[in-house]
Structures are given as C-alpha cells and as structure tokens.
C-alpha cells in the first residue's frame, strides 16, 4: 500500500477528510519551499503535492502561474523538485509530484519514475495527460510501484469517469469546477456531484481540488469528499510574505486552519 493510500486510510479512521496541500518547488526559492512543505507536513497535511514548475501552465490561474514563473526565473531544476519530495517524505507526509507532461516526457518517463521513487515519492498527478496518451506512464508506474492520479471534471461523461478511475491509484482528483486554479468565494455547486459520479465507479478516495482556500470551505468539502486539496491559497500566503520566515509561518497557520476544517463534526 502506498504512502498516499495509507494517509487516506488514516484520515478515514479518524473520521475526517485527508488534507492535501500544494506548493511549487523552488518558490520563492528552493530552501524556503522545502521549509514550507515540511511545515505543512508538521502542521497536519496528509499528502503534499510538490509542483514541478513548467513554462506553460495552462491549467493555472495567475497566482500559481506567477509563482512557477518566478521559480523558473530563479533557476529551479527537476533535481530541486525531487529534493523537495525527499524532505516531505522525511517529514512523514505522503509526497506526490503535480506536473504537466512535457518535463516528464523530456526526462524520460521511466527515469523520472525511478528517481521519484528513490526520492521517496508516491506518485504523480498529471493534469494534461489523457488516459488515451498515458501508455508509457502506466507501464512505468507499474514497474516502479507509483500511484497515478488522473483528474475527473464536471464535464466528464460517465464513460470517461469509468475509464479514468479505472487507471487511477492512490486517489482520484475531482475537479470542482470548470476553470483554472485559484481561490473562489464559494465552493462550487458541482463539486459534490463530481465526487458522487467518481464513487459510482471506484472505491478509491476522491479528493476535491480547485477553489478551496480556507477552513470553512474545507469543512464543507469534507462533508462529502475523502480529501480536500488546497493550492493557490498556500501560494498566495508565500507570495504575500515579507520574509522567508513569515512565508513558512503563513503556511503553518493556514495548514492548522485547514486541518481543523477537514475534521467532521
């Protein structure tokens, strides 16, 4: 059983949703990003998505896109992403990489999978890899025992939900709304429906992402989902901090707020 599956099991046993936090590696710099990720793990995040900064993040809104461009301008490399994964794993949280497909393709999907595994990572979230094009990744993830998290959207018809969930391992990423990443004022009305349609096809946990930014929204999502994914709100805390210490403290505070939120009842 992967560290991700273990994390979801543990949350379920504690009658709460799992908290999944996202941070891009190398933002605002490599060491601060690592400290922030470790703080996230210590403050109660169950799974941490380490973002692999990519030049053309077309699923991301201005907060995350701005952060990854800054990380790239500062010279972040894929080795830094693996180092961040290793630090998260050492801190006791499950670590996955969230990445657009081209950097993995360029690195070589088998070599990437091997190096991710060696760093202690559990798998990949692949927002622009369709099941139709995923053949080499299915093979490599089997060979290296990695989780593969594909996304299900509000627009996905039943046949696609079946096909996608059939390929997932670890958990299924439920996209809460039609749009790009970024905090929203309210949880999307379609989120619960997406979770229910995933549950009709698989026993895997369904975690809801996009638009969740605070403890109250986390509590609401925890009412119907197995996991709550928060990204832009974390990145914003770091972007708005005056110092590295303030950034890490901001991440810790937000995690505490969210970790309280995902506890039902």
């Amino acid at each position: 059983m992967s560290t991700v599956s273990t994390a979801f099991e543990k949350a379920k046993a504690e009658d709460r949703a799992a908290l999944v936090g996202y941070l891009p590696a190398g933002f605002p710099d490599k060491q601060t990003a690592i400290k922030a990720a470790v703080a996230m793990a210590e403050a109660g995040a169950d799974v941490i998505e380490v973002g692999l900064p990519y030049s053309d993040p077309l699923m991301d809104g201005p907060v995350i896109a701005g952060a990854v461009h800054r990380a790239l301008a500062a010279g972040v490399r894929i080795k830094d992403v693996f180092d961040t994964v290793a630090a998260v794993a050492d801190a006791g949280a499950a670590a996955v990489i969230m990445t657009y497909w081209n950097p993995v393709d360029r690195y070589g999907v088998d070599a990437f999978s091997r190096d991710l595994r060696n760093a202690g990572g559990a798998g990949l979230i692949t927002p622009d890899l369709t099941p139709e094009e995923a053949g080499p990744w299915l093979e490599a993830s089997d060979a290296h025992s990695l989780d593969r998290v594909f996304l299900v959207a509000p627009s996905s018809p039943r046949a696609r939900v079946e096909a996608i969930t059939g390929l997932c391992r670890g958990f299924v990423y439920a996209v809460s709304l039609m749009g790009i990443t970024g905090a929203r004022a309210a949880v999307s009305g379609s989120a619960q429906d997406v979770v229910e349609r995933i549950r009709a096809c698989t026993a895997l946990p369904a975690a809801v992402g996009l638009g969740v930014s605070n403890g109250a929204q986390a509590r609401q999502v925890a009412g119907f989902a197995d996991g709550v994914i928060v990204g832009s709100a974390y990145v914003r805390r770091i972007a708005e901090a005056a110092t590295a210490d303030e950034a890490v403290a901001g991440v810790r505070d937000l995690t505490a707020d969210l970790a309280a939120g995902v506890r039902r009842g």
């Binding site: 030049s55 790239l72 497909w101 094009e133 996905s156 696609r160």
Partner: protein, 404 residues
C-alpha cells in the same frame, strides 16, 4: 472541386496521430468538448448542406479561388532566373489564408449551438479572420494576443476592434503567440459550454491539426490545377513559410502524392545570433516534446521547459509546430529550412519593387526561401510560392527596418 484531386493522405489515425506526433494532451475539463467537436466535424465534413454552405462562403465571401500570379521580374532578378509562381492568398478576404479555416470552424460553432468564439493570434491575421467570420455570423468574439504583438501589429488590433471583437492583450511570458495560446486555453476551460476555441494553426489537440488542415488544403488543391494550367507541368518545388504551419500544410497537402515535387518549409531563423532562443526554427533546432495539446517538435531546454523565441515576424514567432509537419520532416517528404530576419526582409523588399506586391513578413520568409532555392536550381526550375498574406500590417516594422 477539380477532378484530378489526389487522395487525401492516410494520416492521422483515429486518435489523431501522425506517426509519433499529434495525439491529444489536454485537461480533462476540455475532453467532452473536444470529443463533441471531433464528432460534429466528422458529421459535417460529409454533410452536403455543410460543405455547400462552406463552399458558397469561400467563393462568394472569401473570393476563392485565389489567383496564381507569375512573378517574372522577381524570378529573373532575385531567384536565379527560375520561373516563380505565387499563390495569392493575400487576395483572399481579410488579406490572408486564415479565412479558409475560420469560415469552416465558425460554421461548426453554429452547428454545435455555441454562441461565443475565442481565438489566439500572433500577427493578428487569424484574429482578424475570426472577428470577421463572427461578425458575419453574429457570434461573440474574443481574441487573445501577446502584448508585444499588439504593439507590432497595431493595424490588426484596430481591425479586430472595428469588427466588434474584444482583443485581450496577454502580458505573460514573452508576450507573443505562445502566451496568447495559453491564455485562450485558460478561457476555454472555464467557458467550454457555450464557447468554441477556434485554433488558427494546424496545432493543438486532435482533431484540430487534421480539421484545420482539411479546411486549408483548398489552397493546394486550387494551386496544383492552376500551375498545371499555366505551366503545363507540376512545379519542381512548393515553398511556404512555417510558424504553426497552416498555410504550408494547406499548400503542401495536395502535392504530397506527387513524389517529384519538393515541399520546402521556411522557418523563422530570427536575428542570426544562432542560439535556438533567438529563432523560431522549431523543426530545424527543436526536439520532440508535448506542447499545447500535441506531441511535436518543440524548442525546449534539457528539462522540457519551452524556450523563448524570436522572429521579426509575429506570425512565425512560436516554439511549436503542427504535428503533421513533424511527421513530414521525419519521413523526409518535406524539407525545412531556416530563414533569417534579414533574408526575409530582403525577400519583402524584392517582391515590393519587382512585382508591386507588399507581402506579409511571414510570407517574406517563403519568398526568401524561393530566392535561395532558385539560385540553387537555376533558370529551368519552376517554383510555387504560397504568398500567405499581404503586408499592410507590417509597413511600420518594415519602415523602421529599412529606415524609410
């Protein structure tokens, strides 16, 4: 349709693959709409009502067939005495070949019951064509354009606004075509229920590369017959500029089965610095990767980050290329060459002064390629150049370049 039209080539496969290239890499949120588009397009392409409506618009609105003009003085003075024929896409309505594809996609938009169209544009020719077709058919139109390009192609920004479109300047990245395309995808993910993304090149996720090619292949179908009529034989070479590659695929496609006809794509070689990021010569200097929904050659670094690009021509300033071109390159059926900014400007000046035609800077790369090829092949050669667009939009850039 002319009787002697050769068979359409057997690519892509059902999943959109041209050999190793193409395919479909996209956010799941878009997949339902992309599947709907593929289905509607398959139905439309064999629906006599749809094809008749499109043919009518191409003839009576876009002014097809466009002419083939012999460029005698240009060939004699600048192309080694070779006989040069120009396929005059600059004479199509809106001033470039882009209208061919847009009319098809906008009719499809109507057929799908969608009311809003978005587009990316580099030089602004695709944006103008999209704004035009939306005005004609009563659809809302939003065009994403890199801020750098809104500056250097200001005339086209004004044209789009006159036509009722909203032009959104994009300030991310290098503020050029790639960034405009990212922004259009971001819009589409949120609006896909009522919005069609009218991609202007032969790129993006399947079915776009195939569909745009099919809408553009009218260029080569017409030109092949026109060259036979005027010269009594097939050309030795067909030359076109390649950014994303829509005009090139359009003119090449009907000639693919003609083994004696060389197909030569001219990419933007940029300022002559030699580093890949100072060019947009994707097929010459790039490596296979995934960008904007397709597997294709990409200008990228060793970790798969897209490189910045440079070209004096906004329409070619793009780090990817349509997947069918990648396939044509690897199979050897087409050749791709790099043409520098300076060579392209020499081609621009040559055509202005010898033929009284002001070409687009994009098309000027093809003219420069024909000049080089004519000198290689000599006076017996017959060269067809796709003059993909007119250069009114570029007179400010050209004036600054030549200091006039």
């Amino acid at each position: 349709m002319p009787a002697a039209e050769p068979d359409i080539s057997p690519v892509p496969d059902a999943a959109g693959h041209f050999g190793d290239y193409g395919g479909l890499f996209a956010p799941e949120s878009l997949m339902a709409a992309i599947e709907q588009l593929a289905k509607e397009y398959q139905a439309a392409r064999t629906d006599p009502e749809f094809t008749a409506e499109l043919a009518g618009l191409l003839k009576n609105y876009a002014a097809r067939p466009t002419l083939v003009t012999e460029a005698k003085r240009f060939g004699a003075q600048f192309a080694g005495g070779a006989r040069v024929l120009l396929k005059r896409e600059d004479l199509a309505h809106t001033g470039s070949h882009k209208i061919n594809n847009v009319l098809g996609q906008v009719l499809l938009t109507k057929r799908m019951g969608k009311t809003r169209v978005i587009a990316e544009t580099g030089a602004g020719q695709h944006g103008v064509a999209t704004a035009t077709a939306c005005a004609l058919l009563g659809l809302e139109c939003v065009v994403y354009m890199g801020e750098e390009d809104t500056r250097r192609q200001a005339l086209n920004v004004s044209r789009m606004r006159m036509l009722g479109a909203t032009v959104v300047p994009v300030t991310a990245g290098t503020r050029t075509l790639k960034d405009a395309m990212n922004e259009a995808f971001r819009d589409w993910v949120a609006t896909v229920d009522d919005t069609h993304y009218c991609i202007g090149s032969v790129g993006g996720p399947h079915p776009f590369p195939m569909m745009v090619r099919d809408f553009q292949r009218v260029i080569g179908v017409e030109a092949r017959q026109q060259v036979l009529d005027q010269a009594g034989r097939l050309p030795d070479a067909v030359v076109a500029c390649v950014g994303g590659g829509s005009n090139a695929i359009g003119v090449f496609h009907a000639f693919i089965p003609d083994a004696s006809v060389r197909l030569i794509g001219c990419e933007a070689g940029g300022d002559g610095d030699g580093r890949p990021e100072r060019t947009a010569a994707t097929l010459t200097l790039g490596t296979p990767g995934v960008l904007h929904g397709m597997r294709t050659y990409v200008l990228q670094d060793d970790e798969g980050q897209t490189l910045d690009t440079h070209s004096i021509s906004a329409g070619l300033d793009y780090p990817g290329v349509g997947p069918e071109h990648s396939w044509l390159k690897d199979t050897g059926r087409a050749e791709y060459r790099s043409v520098s900014d300076d060579e392209a400007m020499a081609g621009f000046a040559a055509l202005c002064k010898t033929e009284g035609i002001i070409p687009a800077l994009e098309s000027s790369h093809a003219l420069a390629g024909a000049m080089r090829l004519g000198r290689e092949l000599g006076p017996d050669a017959l060269i067809l150049v796709n003059l993909s667009g007119r250069g009114d939009k570029d007179v400010a850039t050209a004036s600054a370049y030549f200091g006039v």
